[in-house]
Amino acid sequence: MRTNGRPIRILLVEDNPGDIELTKVALEENKLNNNLHVVMDGEEASDYLYRRGNYTDAPRPDLILLDLNLPRKDGRQVLEEIKSDPDLSDIPVVILTTSAADEDILRAYQLHVNCYVRKPLDLDQFVKVVQSIESFWLSIVELPDRE
C-alpha cells in the first residue's frame, strides 16, 4: 500500500477492552508503522467513518478490523453501511470475531467483507493472526490509492 511514508491507519471496532489491548500488543510486536484508532461501538464507527460528532477531522482508515457483536449498532450493519457506500466500499474490512457460526460467515461475505477471521483462543495464535492480517493487507496486497 502506498502510504507515502505516513503511518498506516487502522480502525479497530471492538467493545472488549481485553481484545483491544491484545490487538494493540500484537500490532506493536509486528513493528509496522501504524496508527491504531479504536471505537467501541457500531454507532461510533459510523460517526468516525462519516466524520460526524467528535470525528469531524477523522482521517480515512486504510484497514478496518470489525467485531460483529457490538453495542448500539451491530457489526453487520456497520459492514453493510461501509460496503454499500461507494466512498467507503474500497476500504478493506476484516471481521475479527469469536463467532464461528456458518450463517455469520456467509452473511459477512454476502455483504462483501474482505475476509472473516475467528479470534484464536491462544495468545500466540491471536498475535500471529492479527500480525498476519496487518502484514497481508498493508504490505502484500495492492489497494487503490484514494489519497
Binding site: 472488549n16 481485553g18 481484545d19 491484545l22 500488543v25 460483529l68 457483536n69 470475531t97 469469536t98 463467532s99 464461528a100 457460526a101 456458518d102 450463517e103 455469520d104 479470534k119 483462543l121 491462544d122 495468545l123 500466540d124 491471536f126
Partner: protein, 512 residues
C-alpha cells in the same frame, strides 16, 4: 313338582278315571243284561203258566194222554225256570220259594187229577165218573196256576222296576262320571296352568328388566319345575353377564388408566426430551459463552508469562505456569463440552454414506499422529450406512486416535473391521495397546472420565462419550469387548435401515 310329572299324573288320573267309569258302566250294563235275562225268564214262566192253565182247562174237555204229557212237560219247564232263576232280593227269593211250593202243589194236584180220571179214555175229565172231585181239583190247579202267574207277574214287576232303577243309575253314573272327569281334568289343567302362568310372567318380567339393562335383577324362584330351572338358568346367565359387564368395566377402567399412564409417560418423555435438549442447549451456550472470558484469562496469563517470565522471582514464574496450565486445560474442557453438546444440537440428517470414505477421512485427519506413532492400520471393506457423515468420521477418528494414543511398547497395529449381524452392521476397532480393565467397561463412556493421569496420557476424557452419543443417535450401541485381552477392542453397531435415529433441528452457534 315338575311340570312333566304333573302332566304324567294328570294323564294317569284321566286314564284311571276313564277306566273306572268304563268299568262301572260295564258292570251296570252287565247287571242290566242279567236283569233283562231274568225278566225274559219270568216272561217265559208267565207264558208257560198260561199254557199250563190252558192245558188244565183242555183236560176238562179232552182228557187225553197227549194233553197230560204236554201239561207235565210245561210243568217241568216251569220247574226248570224256577230252579234256574237267580233271585236278587229276599222278596224275590221268597216269591220263588212260594212259587216252587205252589209248583209242587200243582204237581200234587195234577197227580191226584190223573188218579181220579182215566186218562186212557178219550173222554174229557169233566165227563168222567168222579166229576165233582175232578172239578174241584181242576179249579184248585187253576187257582194255584193263577197264584203262580200272579207271583210271576210280581216277580216281573220287581225285575222291571230294578231294570228301570238300574237304567237310571247307569245314566246317572255316566253323567256323574263325565262331570266328575271333566271337573278333575279342568281342575288339574287349572292347577298346572296356575303353576305355569305366575312363574312364566315373573320370568318374562325379569327378562324385560334385565333386557332393559338392570343386571342386578334376579327372578329368584323357589320352584323346582322346568320353569324354575329356566328362571335359575336365566339368573345364572344374568349373574355371568353381570360379571362379564363388571370385568368389562374393569377392563375399560384399566384401559383408561393405561391410556392415562401412557399419556403421562408420553408427556414425561416429551419433558425429558425437552429438558435433554435444553440441557444440551445449556451446555452449548454455557461452554460457548465461557470461552470468551476464558480466552481473556488465557491470553493475559500468557501475556504475563511472555512479558515477565524470568523478570520476577521463581515463585511468580511457577504461579504463572500453573495459571497458564489451568486456563489451557479449562479451555480444552470447554471445547470438548462444546463438541459433545454439538452431537445433539448440530446434528445433520442421516444419509446413505460409504463407510470406506468415512474411514479414509478419519485416518486422513489423524495422518500426522499415525505417522508419528508408526501405526500399522488395516481395514475391512466397509458397507454403506445411513449416517451423519461428519459424526461418523468423528467416531472412527476418536476410536483410532485412542488406539494410537494408548499404545504399548510395540508400534500400534490397529484393525478396523465390520461384520454383518443381520439387521445391523457391527463395526470393530481393535489394537494391541495397553487395554482397558473390564471393570471400567462402562465408566469409560461417561463424559470427562479418565483412567490415566494427565502426565501419562493427555486428553480430557471426552472421546468415548462423544462416540457413544453419536452411535446412540444413529440407533446403535457401543461397547468394550471385555473378552479381548491382546489390547483393546471396541464394537459398535449401526442399523442397516437408518430410521431409528432421532432427529433434532440443527441450529448453529450463537455469535460470540
Amino acid at each position: 313338582m315338575r311340570i312333566r310329572t304333573k302332566l304324567h299324573l294328570s294323564t294317569a288320573a284321566a286314564i284311571v278315571g276313564a277306566l273306572a267309569v268304563g268299568i262301572i258302566l260295564f258292570r251296570a250294563v252287565q247287571r242290566l243284561d242279567t236283569e233283562l235275562g231274568s225278566i225274559e225268564t219270568v216272561d217265559r214262566a208267565v207264558g208257560t203258566l198260561f199254557d199250563l192253565n190252558i192245558l188244565t182247562h183242555e183236560l176238562m174237555t179232552a182228557h187225553t194222554q197227549r194233553v197230560a204229557r204236554q201239561w207235565e212237560a210245561s210243568h217241568r219247564q216251569v220247574g226248570r225256570i224256577l230252579t234256574d232263576y237267580q233271585p236278587v232280593t229276599v222278596t224275590e227269593r221268597r216269591l220263588i220259594q212260594r212259587m216252587m211250593e205252589h209248583h209242587y202243589r200243582a204237581a200234587l194236584l195234577f197227580e191226584r187229577l190223573l188218579e181220579v180220571s182215566d186218562t186212557s179214555s178219550p173222554k174229557p175229565v169233566s165227563v168222567a165218573s168222579n166229576n165233582g172231585l175232578t172239578q174241584r181239583l181242576v179249579s184248585q190247579i187253576t187257582i194255584v196256576l193263577r197264584t203262580m202267574t200272579s207271583e210271576s207277574e210280581q216277580l216281573y214287576a220287581a225285575t222291571y222296576r230294578r231294570i228301570t232303577r238300574l237304567q237310571k243309575q247307569a245314566v246317572g253314573m255316566a253323567v256323574v262320571c263325565s262331570v266328575g272327569m271333566a271337573l278333575v281334568v279342568t281342575c288339574l289343567a287349572a292347577l298346572i296352568g296356575i303353576g305355569l302362568v305366575k312363574p312364566l310372567s315373573q320370568l318374562r318380567e325379569g327378562i324385560q328388566i334385565v333386557g332393559n339393562g338392570n343386571l342386578e335383577h334376579t327372578v329368584g324362584t323357589e320352584k323346582q319345575d322346568e320353569i324354575g330351572d329356566l328362571s335359575r338358568t336365566f339368573d345364572i346367565m344374568t349373574e355371568r353377564l353381570r360379571h362379564t359387564m363388571a370385568s368389562r368395566d374393569e377392563l375399560a377402567a384399566e384401559i383408561q388408566e393405561r391410556k392415562k399412564a401412557q399419556k403421562e409417560l408420553q408427556s414425561t418423555l416429551q419433558d425429558l426430551k425437552r429438558s435433554n435438549a435444553e440441557l444440551e442447549q445449556f451446555a452449548y451456550v454455557a461452554s460457548h459463552d465461557l470461552q470468551e472470558p476464558l480466552r481473556m484469562v488465557n491470553s493475559y496469563v500468557q501475556l504475563l508469562a511472555r512479558r515477565y517470565e524470568g523478570k520476577l522471582d521463581e515463585d511468580a514464574d511457577k504461579y504463572i505456569g500453573f495459571a497458564v496450565d489451568g486456563a489451557t486445560r479449562m479451555q480444552a474442557l470447554i471445547n470438548d463440552l462444546l463438541t459433545y453438546s454439538r452431537v445433539g444440537t448440530r446434528a445433520k440428517p442421516l444419509k446413505l454414506v460409504d463407510c470406506n470414505s468415512i474411514v479414509d477421512q478419519a485416518l486422513k485427519n489423524l495422518e500426522l499422529t499415525i505417522r508419528e506413532a508408526g501405526a500399522d492400520i488395516t481395514c475391512d471393506s466397509m458397507p454403506a450406512v445411513h449416517a451423519d457423515s461428519g459424526q461418523l468420521v468423528q467416531v472412527f477418528q476418536n476410536l483410532v486416535a485412542n488406539a494410537v494414543k494408548f499404545r504399548g511398547d510395540t508400534p500400534p497395529r490397529i484393525h478396523i473391521g465390520v461384520e454383518d449381524d443381520g439387521d445391523t452392521w457391527r463395526f470393530s476397532v481393535q489394537d494391541n495397546g495397553i487395554g482397558i480393565e473390564p471393570k471400567y467397561a462402562n465408566r469409560i463412556f461417561a463424559i470427562f472420565q479418565r483412567l490415566h493421569s494427565r502426565t501419562e496420557f493427555s486428553g480430557t476424557g471426552i472421546g468415548l462419550a462423544v462416540c457413544k452419543k453419536i452411535v446412540e443417535r444413529h440407533g446403535g450401541t457401543i461397547w468394550l469387548d471385555t473378552t479381548y485381552s491382546d489390547g483393546t477392542r471396541f464394537y459398535f453397531t449401526l442399523p442397516k435401515e437408518g430410521q431409528d435415529a432421532y432427529e433434532r433441528t440443527p441450529h448453529t452457534d450463537s455469535p460470540g
